[in-house]
Amino acid sequence: MQWETVIGLEIHTQLATQSKIFSGASIAFGASPNTQACAIDLGLPGVLPVLNAEAVRLAVRFGKAIGAEVAPRSVFARKNYFYPDLPKGYQISQYELPIVGEGRVEIVLGDGAVKSIGVTRAHLEEDAGKSLHEENLAGGGYTGIDLNRAGTPLLEIVSEPDMRTPQEAVAYARKIHQLVRWIGISDGNMQEGSFRVDANVSVRPLGQTRFGTRTEIKNLNSFRFIERAIQFEVERQIDVIEGGGTIVQETRLYDPERDETRPMRSKEEANDYRYFPDPDLLPVEIDVAFIVDAVADLPELPDSMRERFHTQYGLGEYDASLLTAGRELAQYFEAVVQATAEPKLAANWVNGELAAALNRSEIEIARSPVSAAMLAGLIHRIQDGTVSGKLAKQVFEAMWSGEGDADSVIQARGLRQITDSGELEAMIAAIVAANPGQVEQYRAGKDKVFGFFVGQVMKESKGKANPQQVNEILMRVLASD
């Protein structure tokens, strides 16, 4: 039987506020346990939450960035369950009335095809704390609780079940990751847990419209794990069904070490969260002025930029999508284009030499030793014939290792093309004179020997001879007599 996979993702992205969503405590990462938890975060008796307006502003930016409606009125609700790292015995979240409604994003697949993925909703909520199951804590037999993270603002972004392969799921997750960073609402740091993905996965016989029973894989914190966990889960579900079994709706965890998913411990079995509106918080009412202000400095969005690169600069979809993978990269590219008016050459350099160098050194574009202005300077020297395309790569490497801008490198290393025709004429005349045998062959009609002369000139000039001029002069000299 042919099976179809259906995937939906729930992404928890930590919002880049200064303080927590309902208290003034800092959300900086890495502080010692419980040093960033105030009375509100600890859930002491009598404390009350006060909503952080910045978290609302960031959520609004996201809503507008995916073309969703921002709810004029949204409501915080309590999700009730007991767990030691949940200090109040409930999580403040949004349930029936989320702040961001339906929207869409586009993903570009490996073959350059564009697919639109629906976002069902996005809602604000607080994060829980962290349980530290460490051996020997307080002499053993104890679990530690760190509430530094409790109350950290999260935006939970829920997708439609629109993805059909693990690769599509990864492309969507990358897309959201790109977007939240692009619009400055999250640092997207996956190692620090600022971007966590839950995947809802089911399979069904190809052609069936009804969904199969789904399982939820929790807390995937790398793109590689998303792909592998879903891949494993799909195969497992098909095996179960083909073996005559049925899929149990459950929560599973991915174990990267063994590359498999396993049912989670019964922590959450048959939980009824008893959601109800939080009486400590008023409904969030957002007016047009707030939205206008929140999106006032929203940059051009990646999809529209990608499309513009395609139409305005004539770049292919794939090149355009690579160049818009991150906002800084896109800005870098545009800066080079603006300085050189050579979009294709700029795209080749940014996606080629620059991307390779960044990758090799494992650094972000923002920390590239070759600035946009420097790359533009190099492209200028290619354009005006100062340096050949081949030697330009050498110039780039030198700039990368800190030898200065293109002009200084060309100067210092003497890489300037020889365009002085007198000098070239003399050099060529000498080479022709020194190789009478080859001249004979050429004149006898063996055209291939022309390449031998070009090679000799380049060797003599250490690659600096202007190839076009060399061709012209050689043609003329060899044809004469």
Partner: protein
């Protein structure tokens, strides 16, 4: 000394007729001598009270004293106080000292008030007789075999017995007004959001409101002047200007339109209580008020609606008491579930557990719509009844409670009979309106309360209406025998 009004005490403290230290010592001595008969205090903070009194005396001498400088008061043990245990009447918090003051506590302290201690209360404010307290019942100063009402029973008894000049309380369904009525004192529950709930341990967040128990409307006005106002730490506190309540006390009430809801004078009301209330209303007519019968047709639904909404919120609000971070923790838990179950079973009393279970039930999948959502809809209807009534009357009057104080133990085995004691007070909480209780003519030597309900943020009007009555009557001056 203990029979003087707060205004009089404040004036005499300023005249140095006596010092705050002397006044505070006087009250502490009364508490030590008389409270064993009442059990109205959970904690007495002699040392910090005397320190505060000294500070008040210095401020008075320096001429920069706050309006309540040196006046000894008590706080219901539901308000967090840095340095004094805040138990909420529960074993769960028997070991809990908050690291912060509630806003109400902070504001009264800023006005110079001296805190004598924390008063007894029904556990987590759940009760109408003060019998659910972990610290034992409070006895009514008018008859030690009877309840003082609840949940602010300790505050009511302490004020009636002159063990403090006034006390704070909270009112979720009548917890200020009903004990004020049963103890023969004046109590005011302001509009929802008028006083900050920051630092006030939550029972039912959408209903809870802080207020005052005092010997007169004038005394209550002195405290409320300081307590009321917007607090950025409480998102539900009202950003509405606070008038000067003391200034408004003497306004003329001629032409006042009083509405008497027919639903408040029907079956279940002790006829002698009804007669006493009717007499008080006749007094208002003599003062120039006009009286008109009105109807609050949905008011019979207020008790069932309340017992859905309040337990639902409490089941969630009390989830934080889990034995993990503070409060009672059971001995030797064998695992996490055992820790939760035993800590909560040992830490909470029966009534609290009953309400947590009711609340958990009404919020459960499959029941939410039938109970919680429906209750919220009826809550709107109840509020609409009041809105309609206030189109034709200025205040609504009726009995505060259907009977006088009942004997200790009389209703402890019948929760529903206990709940019905709040039948006249609950609707105002559901509608978020301000309400008062003032003493009128007693029945068989036991106090009776007249309830006065106003429109939103009409506290000044209520205190004015109550004060004008107290100006021409003496019911509020009566002291229980042995506590004069």
């Amino acid at each position: 000394m203990q029979n003087k009004s707060i205004a009089q005490m404040a004036a005499e403290l300023r005249l140095r007729t006596y010092s705050s230290v002397e006044l505070t010592r006087h009250y502490l001595e009364r508490i030590a001598r008389l409270d064993p008969r009442l059990n109205s205090f959970i904690s007495v903070a002699s040392e910090s009270a005397l320190t505060a009194a000294e500070r008040a005396d210095r401020a008075i001498a320096a001429g920069d004293a706050g309006p309540l400088a040196g006046i000894p008061i008590a706080h219901k043990d539901i308000f967090c106080t840095a340095g004094i245990k805040t138990s909420c009447g529960s074993r769960m918090l028997d070991n809990f000292v908050a690291p912060y003051d509630a806003t109400v506590v902070e504001r009264l302290a800023a006005a110079g008030a001296v805190v004598l201690g924390k008063t007894n209360m029904d556990e987590f404010a759940m009760g109408s007789s003060n019998e659910t307290s972990y610290y034992g019942p409070v006895h009514n100063p008018w008859d030690a075999d009877r309840v003082p009402g609840g949940s602010s029973g300790g505050s009511a008894a302490a004020v009636a017995a002159r063990l403090c000049a006034a006390a704070t309380g909270t009112d979720t369904g009548g917890s200020i007004r009903q004990p004020a009525a049963l103890c023969g004192i004046t109590g005011i529950k302001p509009t929802y959001g008028r006083c900050s709930r920051w630092g006030m341990i939550a029972f039912a967040s959408s209903l809870d409101q802080a207020g005052v128990l005092a010997r007169s409307a004038a005394d209550a006005a002195c405290l409320l002047d300081e307590m009321a106002g917007f607090d950025p730490r409480d998102s539900t506190s009202a950003d509405v200007a606070v008038p000067d309540y003391v200034d408004a006390l003497d306004h003329d009430i001629a032409g006042l339109r009083i509405g008497l809801p027919k639903e408040y004078f029907g079956e279940g009301l002790d006829p002698r209580v009804a007669a006493s209330v009717q007499d008080a209303i006749k007094e208002y007519e003599r003062l120039g008020a006009t009286v008109k019968e009105i109807s609050l047709p949905n008011s019979p639904l207020s008790v069932p609606v309340y017992y859905v909404v309040a337990p639902a919120e409490c089941s969630s609000n009390l989830a934080r008491f889990d034995g993990v971070r503070y409060g009672h923790r059971c001995e030797n838990p064998k695992d996490l579930e055992d820790l939760y179950k035993r800590s909560r079973a040992e830490g909470f009393g029966d009534e609290v557990q009953r309400r947590i279970m009711i609340g958990t039930y009404v919020l459960s999948a499959g029941y939410y719509d039938a109970y919680y959502l429906k209750a919220q809809k009826i809550r709107h209807l109840i509020a609409d009844d009041f809105a309609r009534a206030f189109e034709e009357v200025d205040v609504i009057m009726g009995p505060t409670a259907p009977t006088t104080a009942f004997p200790l133990g009389a209703k402890t085995d019948d929760p529903v009979a206990m709940y019905l004691n709040d039948i006249y007070t609950i609707a105002t909480n559901l509608a978020g309106l301000p309400g008062m209780s003032i003493p009128v003519e007693p029945v068989d030597g036991l106090p009776v309360g007249l309830q006065i309900i106003g429109n939103s943020f009409q506290e000044a009007r209520l205190l004015n209406v109550a004060h004008r009555f107290q100006h021409v009557t003496h019911w509020h001056q009566g002291a229980p025998s042995g506590f004069e």
